[in-house]
């Protein structure tokens, strides 16, 4: 297709804290191995019918992370700082790499400090302790954004995006637009979420979207609870994570001698405008087509999609239909990495873009773990079993379709 595309944006650094690994190397290894971090987790609350739920927790010590603002950190904010530090190190983004006014922070989180707020209220109502002076700044939705801005002395726009499960995909895409438009040269972007406290988990469980676990479930069965696009799919596991990237205009990256292996080439977001939870294939199709057009790519140029793939009954039906509508006979290979890292909510878009980037860089497609074969009702090429070689892979897509109807799609491309 003729390239009517807007300029690509370089991704000069990446970092991650996730259930399947902390740091890019461990994450990459687990993604290609299809190694699940999902475990059975008992909700510590009275009065629940279903106390056991599938959860993917990160092996992460938040207490070891110091706040640049010296306030108590929400666990997700601590994850955000560690992921962003890794990304900044990889990008060699040191003092003087970019003027502070030209550096932005674009960060996504669905419910940001909700778990800290829950824990704090528990101490107030149950232990009759006081609200602390820092409770507001620890739990406000832009807390991770603000801490990152202080850490990196960012003095351009520092914006927090909350669009449920599309939050970090939107944050990344909007930063890409700001760089293309010349508003900033560099951005620290991504998303974080950690909501594994009893009240929030019980809230998700009450929606009946989490995969059910038998009371005597084995560790192996719990690890396989989430089966995206399988006929016997039954829902997802909740996870926690942060993923960060350093985005940079090509000119700025070249001028400071940065190196990068992949870049962002397309982005689109829209809304279904139909229903608060039910997905709508029409909105998803428009978002995917618009992202491809933004990248100047025909559907046939895409070699991989890391799908939203929540493994819910209705969600996968809508997404499979959307993929068929957009890619038709091209049958692009599709993966859902949610099977192993769980649903990361506001951090999902960033982590799943990272998985797609791993595929681009390695020339291999990660498997959809746990799904032995795709639901025969879906005419999609799901990558199952083990990683699939894809030496010709040039362009990959990561889709995020959120509660509230927000759809966000990112297209990433390997550098030659």
């Amino acid at each position: 297709m003729a390239s009517a595309a807007a300029a690509p944006v370089a991704v000069t650094g990446s970092g991650v804290v996730s259930p399947i690994g902390i740091g890019i190397a461990a994450f990459t290894d687990a993604v290609f191995a299809g190694r699940s971090a999902v475990r059975a987790h008992a909700i510590d609350l009275v009065g629940l019918d279903v106390p056991l739920v599938p959860v993917a927790a990160a092996d992460f010590d938040a207490a070891a992370v110091t706040s640049p603002s010296r306030v108590p950190l929400d666990r997700a904010t601590a994850m955000a700082l560690v992921a962003a530090d890794e990304a900044a190190r990889a990008a060699a983004l040191g003092e003087g790499s970019v003027a502070g006014e030209r550096l932005g922070v674009y960060w996504g989180s669905g419910m940001a400090g909700a778990s800290t707020f829950e824990t704090t209220l528990r101490t107030v109502y149950v232990e009759h302790r006081r609200m602390r002076p820092t409770s507001v700044v620890t739990t406000m939705p832009n807390a991770p954004t603000a801490e990152l801005a202080v850490r990196f002395r960012a003095r351009g726009a520092a914006l927090a995006y909350a669009c449920a499960c599309a939050s970090s995909a939107v944050a990344i895409g909007e930063a890409m637009r700001a760089i293309r438009a010349g508003a900033i040269d560099v951005a620290v972007v991504g998303g974080s979420e950690s909501l594994l406290t009893p009240g929030v988990v019980a809230g998700w469980q009450a929606m009946r979207v989490l995969a059910p676990l038998a009371p005597d479930v084995s560790a192996d069965a719990a690890a396989r609870a989430c089966r995206p696009f399988a006929a016997d799919r039954a829902g997802f596991a909740l996870g926690e994570a942060a993923a960060a990237f350093v985005l940079e205009s090509i000119d700025h990256a070249r001028a400071r001698g940065a190196s990068w292996h992949w870049q962002l080439t397309g982005y689109a977001s829209n809304c279904d405008g139909v229903h608060i939870t039910n997905p709508d294939a029409e909105g998803q199709v428009r978002a995917m087509r618009a992202a491809l057009a933004d990248a100047g790519l025909a559907p046939a140029a895409l070699g991989h999609v890391n799908a939203h793939g929540t493994a819910t009954l209705a969600g996968d039906v809508a997404e499979a239909a959307s993929l068929v509508a957009v890619f038709g006979a091209h049958r692009v290979p599709v993966t859902s990495t949610k099977a192993i890292h769980g649903h990361l909510l506001g951090a999902g878009g960033a982590v799943e873009l990272l998985a797609a980037a791993c595929a681009l860089v390695a020339g291999r497609l990660p498997p959809t773990a746990n799904t032995a074969s795709v639901d025969p009702a879906f005419a999609i090429d799901l990558v199952t079993g083990s990683a699939r070689p894809a030496p010709e892979l040039r362009h990959a897509m990561s889709s995020s379709f959120a509660f509230g109807g927000t759809n966000a799609v990112l297209v990433a491309s390997r550098c030659e």
Binding site: R70, V71, R132, P133, V137
Partner: protein
């Protein structure tokens, strides 16, 4: 209204406990901590100062009434804070705190 002046008559053990909260909980250099140190000269912002007073109160299981102390007020010393803690502890021991 401004809290009325506090004449410091603190217990040394109270000061020692407050110092350890500052050094261990708020990463303040031990060399900078003396009874005459002013709270607003410790390098803590106003929010951290209030968290610090909370932490000290929790350590002793007492509350300093707001009208007795605003830690953001210039020149309030650690000795004065320790004295207020001693007063609150004594009040609590008498059973009317």
């Amino acid at each position: 209204m401004r809290p009325r002046p506090i004449r410091p008559r603190m217990q040394p053990s109270t000061f020692a406990a407050i110092s350890s909260v500052l050094v261990e909980g708020f990463q303040v250099d031990a060399a900078a901590v003396s009874p005459e140190s002013a709270l607003d000269q410790l390098g803590l912002d106003s929010l951290a100062l209030m968290e610090f007073v909370f932490a000290v109160e929790d350590r002793f299981g007492v509350r300093i009434p707001e009208e007795r102390l605003d830690p953001r007020q210039a020149g309030v010393t650690l000795a004065q804070l320790a004295t207020l803690i001693d007063e609150a502890v004594a009040l609590k021991a008498r059973g009317d705190g």
